[in-house]
Symmetry: C2
Subunit: 250 residues, 2 copies
């Protein structure tokens, strides 16, 4: 039987800057009798990585520009948050209907440059995306390897909106230890037809799957996926970013 | 422990027009000792639904228009396939770099109107998307309810590309028996901050998760999800389609 299981890891404490996140994850697994094994995938939300890596800004320290103030007044937003979005963006892709769709320094397209106020302690604290989520993923993987002698793949996720469709979904923003893809090109289906267009972005599918056991209310920011045979590879989220010349939507 | 499992259903035969798909799925589950229970979610790829519902076209019956011929020559495509894409589209959203991004009659945005040549018997046979995938999902759900007395949710999926990111992922194109969303609006996080933007498109996450056990080579077009507590609802894929006035990307 081909099956995978996705296990939410409960019991993690609130994360603060400087916390040893890999250790806290391993401790929580031990407490919950969840065994991490070779070939498992650990999926971790951006929020707790940003907090442990001090990717935090006190909005009281932000002085909004005139553009940020104007936009904030027009759309009933916090001008300091708008200014922070500007600062964390390489480019504003769309700025209409009160929505800021941004290209981040990483090359990601997301609303508000991935800046978030929820699940952060303190009234005026915002998190921004980790500077290098592949490295964040590698660090967690490396700590687990050193502590337990187990090689896992790690995926870092965030929750983003999409064009055309309502609702947000979890997507991958960093990885370590696996290829982001399953590549069917050059292979044939049961009828001998080439599977031409079939490069599957499995890290995004794993990120999406992980959200189903995570829970924004009950503090489940990490899950463990068992039974999915990924393609081992150093892996980088940069491979998922479509170059502008191949993208109809820049 | 909060966990879900996703089980690929192997052993389905090749599907032909008029086949009783729900019966074949239930037979395959029985043969594999997979028990369908109340509250399970059955995820079914579009391809076998299209085949069972005779959403098939022999390309030899298609007469390409001059526009289809011109585009096909320019980008080394089959002019009959291009013509079929035109016929199954409400609107061509983008037509550049050899890519046809279309809005289908359903309101979906996808490459080539969801028309596919892979995993179809016969050199010149193409499948198109089911006319009403919610109804397809309802019919499967209803058959299972009548046969087994079990109420499941059903999701119909297809594999689509996305702007900005490489690789395709599975998305939902039809559903029955569940809300497509998990709605956190009006609720607060652990710090009392409103979870404003958090309407999660869980049917797309479940669709994405299902692909991880499906396999385009080994003929696993159906899977069963256990342990995910969806919000029971009649459900419609139309709720996922973002109205043009709220969408930056039409």
């Amino acid at each position: 039987m081909k099956s995978i299981s996705i296990i939410g890891i409960e019991g993690l404490p609130i994360i603060y800057p400087g916390d040893d996140l890999p250790k806290l994850i391993m401790d929580a697994c031990e407490k919950e009798n969840i065994i991490i094994e070779n070939g498992d995938i650990l999926v971790v939300t951006q929020k707790i990585i940003s907090k442990s890596e001090s990717c935090l800004v006190d909005l009281n320290t932000i002085t909004p520009s005139n553009l940020a103030k104007k936009w904030a007044i027009e759309w009933d937003r916090d001008p300091r948050l708008i200014e922070l979005v500007f600062q964390k963006s390489k480019r504003i892709s769309k700025m209409q209907n009160g929505v800021l769709l941004t290209e981040t320094e990483h090359g990601f397209y997301c609303i508000n440059a991935g800046i978030d106020l929820s699940n952060v302690s303190g009234d005026n604290m915002a998190t921004y995306l980790p500077i290098d989520s592949d490295k964040s993923a590698f660090n967690i993987r490396n700590s687990i390897k050193k502590s337990l002698g187990i090689d896992t793949a790690i995926i870092v996720t965030d929750t983003w909106g999409r064009p055309w469709r309502f609702g947000v979904t979890n997507v991958a923003i960093g990885l370590s230890g696996m290829s982001p893809f399953r590549d069917y090109r050059g292979l044939s289906d049961a009828n001998g037809m080439d599977l031409k267009a079939s490069v599957i972005a499995v890290v995004d599918e794993l990120a999406a799957a992980s959200e189903l056991v995570m829970n924004k209310l009950d503090n489940i920011p990490v899950c463990l996926v068992k039974g999915y045979k990924f393609v081992p590879d150093e892996g980088s989220i940069n491979d998922l970013i479509r170059p502008p010349e191949q993208d109809l939507f820049r």
